[in-house]
Subunit: 190 residues, 2 copies
């Protein structure tokens, strides 16, 4: 997606250690027109998988998941990292190592909103090691719903996420693919 | 906003202690068509304040803030509750008591994305005591930007938030106003 790739090259910052800072338009501050375009593009790419629900993880997955779900006209569920007091006692919970947080986080979904037979499209901002997305897929499996695709805004191809997601046997789409961040560079797969 | 009020009456649950559960369409699971409508309505109500940016607090403020900002065609910034590694060392930070979490939370914004002269519209999912919104207003003031309005999806009128926001001297809009939750009821201001 050209508008996104241009923006990453213009404003993305390579902080070293594989950390790509896109806080000015994807995380923290969101360019809402660009993010709506990302959602439209992801919705088009997954038009044929007939998703009934979009699933993501708070916090930075919410914006792309919401815009994708809006274009698909389906609800979005975001897995919580802490259990709010409004959630039932019995929940689906899994843990996933967080690359950027340097620790393991909980991913929690209420059984009220993830049901048997649901066709789940997983959307997130980044695909790096794929561990968060595999965690979301475990939640979907626990609920008896079927993962039908995985879409991300930015993939870092050198962290093995796409290979890790292979076991899901579903289409994986990325709107921009960062293929190299060595030596302070940001190189995209054009 | 009738579609929202109908939904609250049909699916909202009074959990006692002033807790209104709307996890099926606003928090946790988001009805994306309804939320887009909420954003459109808030954008219309604030069309004349000429906001240059929407400010909210993660997590559940993100959905209404994103849709409002999309309709206004301005960026949205969500205050973080923990400082991510991509954020500079020097930040704007304030604390606010969280009603639903039963503790004080940090609200953190990077000076990169909140600037002097910015016209800030604060959007959140709930107006209860108003403490989160006042915290966001303090962050805006620290940045030298001006708060031009406050919009929320649901106001609980009996928790004093609107009175607390009086000191901001800006228009405050709520799409649905819950005026009574005593005795297990959910009574809206029609």
């Amino acid at each position: 997606m050209k508008a996104l790739m241009d923006r990453i090259l213009a404003e993305g910052r390579n902080l070293g250690g594989g950390i790509l800072k896109v806080d000015g338009f994807i995380n923290h501050q969101v360019d809402t027109v660009l993010m709506d375009g990302c959602g439209r593009e992801l919705a088009e790419r997954f038009a044929r998988v007939e998703a009934t629900k979009v699933l993501t993880a708070e916090i930075s997955g919410i914006a792309p998941a919401l815009t994708t779900a809006r274009h698909l006209e389906v609800p979005v569920v975001y897995a919580r990292k802490t259990r709010p007091i409004t959630m039932p006692d019995q929940v689906f919970l899994t843990t996933a190592p967080s690359h950027t947080k340097g620790r393991t986080v909980d991913l929690i979904v209420s059984p009220e909103y993830l049901a048997r037979g649901e066709r789940v499209l997983i959307i997130d901002d980044f695909l790096a090691t794929g561990q968060t997305i595999l965690g979301l897929a475990r939640l979907a499996a626990a609920a008896g719903s079927e993962v039908v695709g995985v879409g991300v805004v930015i993939e870092k191809t050198f962290e093995g996420g796409r290979e890790a997601l292979g076991r899901l046997e579903v289409p994986v789409e990325a709107l921009a693919r960062v293929i190299d961040m060595s030596g302070g560079r940001i190189t995209l797969d054009e």
